[in-house]
């Protein structure tokens, strides 16, 4: 797809690269500062999860249009071990206060849409979307 761009996650430095690319695209699409920071934080989490738990994977970016809405879709793909206990991974209260970062519930909060497909031994794909708000705010 011509509108798609991506960053391979192999080392911690690639997390920064993914953040940078994501932020640039978000800025171009017209997201405000706070939303840029939210998108970047979500990318950070997704990329870090790949780096820490799957070893390697990819973060893909794609501008999306749906009726009158415009937004940015971020997809994190890995072929790692998959998530054992989804209910628990989506549970609040474990990651943030322990200093472990936003975790998946955090990513879900930062973005507007969240979708997760995982199977043990085969890997995980997480797709999130942030929509542009009518007024540019924040």
């Amino acid at each position: 797809m011509e509108n798609q761009s991506s960053v391979k996650i192999l080392s911690e430095w690639d997390i920064v690269a993914a953040r940078q690319l994501g932020r640039n695209i978000a800025k171009e699409l017209g997201f405000g500062t706070v939303d840029q920071a939210r998108i970047t934080t979500a990318i950070s989490e997704l990329a870090r999860n790949i780096y820490l738990y799957a070893g390697q994977g990819e973060i893909q970016f794609e501008p999306v249009n749906e009726f009158e809405k415009r937004g940015l879709k971020v997809t994190a793909v890995d072929h790692g071990p998959g998530i054992q206990d989804i209910r628990r991974a989506m549970e609040d209260g474990f990651s943030t206060s322990g200093g472990l970062g936003a975790g998946l519930p955090g990513v879900k909060r930062l973005m507007d849409e969240f979708d997760l497909i995982t199977s043990l031994g085969e890997g995980t794909t997480i797709q999130v979307v942030k929509w542009l708000r009518d007024r540019r705010f924040g």
């Binding site: 920064v16 940078q20 206060s97």
Partner: protein, 334 residues
């Protein structure tokens, strides 16, 4: 050196780097570092204060008004800081309650544990999965050589209150007077116990059946419980196990109707709680015909394999979100 000093000097370095390079790497570093400051329970207003201090160091000629604006921001953030500290304390309490509930769940499991009888005449499978940690469904087998009695019950309500009721019902059942031969008498008796011991907002639905090995008859009665299925091997068709009867705990003196089925070889009795039939998918409730289709698809398996396989199929249909306790019992005449 305490964490606040480290925080201040690190913050200064990372911020200086960011302002010089305006690099994504510095922002990433900042965000990683903020996790540490959260872990060390540094409040947001302290971060603002450090930010202001660092700016003043980096830009000694900064306007007084800008500096003053930070005092305002600190004041504004104070309530956020408090909400955030409250968060820490709520989290601790939450973990305490969580572990209490886990202990309660394991006590309850112990208390309600009932081995699934292995018999020559019938093949039995049973499975009960709570929606939350604590199960509000309950099943029980009692075997006496010539017959086996089967109870399946569902407390209206979930969680801790349901667990308390369940342990009561268990004791009531263990101490039934000698009326085990008639399911309707058992329900009449239990109804009285529930009615007199539980407050009026608690109800229990129950199905009680007795399978006689000699006569291969199944007598049963039910108190407002979800209807089961009867499978006729001869016609390969399912029939609803129709029953009438008031839920336990509403009125003190109630009699129940009793029903009987002659069980032929290959016939099958399916008992369940409404957590099975009221499985909700994105498109609404599952039809009872979907359940019988699923049962039919597993008919080649043993009774225990059947209930487990059926559970997995229904769990998937529900997108892995179980909203009600799920209990399923299958009794097959061999």
């Amino acid at each position: 050196m305490d964490f606040k000093q480290i925080l201040e000097s690190s913050y200064r370095e990372i911020l200086r780097r960011y302002i010089e390079e305006s690099s994504e790497a510095a922002l990433y570093q900042g965000q990683m570092f903020s996790r540490k400051s959260i872990k060390q329970q540094i409040s947001p207003e302290e971060i603002i204060s450090i930010h202001c201090k660092v700016l003043k160091d980096l830009y000694p000629d900064i306007r007084e008004e800008i500096l003053a604006s930070f005092d305002f921001l600190i004041e504004f953030m104070m309530n956020y800081g408090l909400a955030y500290q409250e968060h820490q304390s709520l989290r601790d309490k939450q973990f305490e309650i969580k572990s209490e509930i886990e202990i309660a769940a394991s006590i309850q499991e112990n208390l309600l544990e009932t081995p699934i009888p292995k018999l020559e005449e019938v093949d039995i499978g049973a499975l009960s999965i709570p929606a939350k940690k604590i199960n509000g469904d309950f099943y029980r087998f009692v075997e006496d050589g010539k017959s086996i009695s089967i109870a399946i019950a569902d407390v209206i309500g979930k969680g801790i209150p349901a667990a308390l009721c369940m342990s009561m019902i268990k004791y009531a059942m263990d101490n039934l007077p000698k009326c085990r031969n008639n399911p309707n008498d058992v329900l009449t008796n239990l109804n009285r116990v529930v009615e007199s011991n539980l407050d009026s907002s608690m109800f229990i639905t129950m199905f009680y059946g007795i399978y006689d090995f000699n006569k291969h008859s199944f007598t049963y009665a039910a108190a407002g419980h979800e209807q089961g299925f009867y499978y006729h091997a001869s016609s390969q068709s399912f029939e609803d196990l129709e029953t009438r009867g008031m839920v336990l705990g509403v009125e003190p003196n109630i009699t129940y109707e009793q029903y009987e089925k002659k069980v032929k070889p290959g016939d099958m009795i399916v008992l369940l709680s409404d957590g099975v039939t009221e499985s909700r998918t994105e498109n609404g409730f599952i039809e009872r015909s979907v359940i019988t289709d699923i049962i039919q698809s597993t008919m080649h398996l043993s009774a225990q394999e059947m209930v487990e396989n059926i559970y997995r199929q229904i769990e998937r249909l529900q997108n892995f979100e179980i909203r009600d306790d799920f209990t399923l019992i299958i009794i097959k005449r061999v």
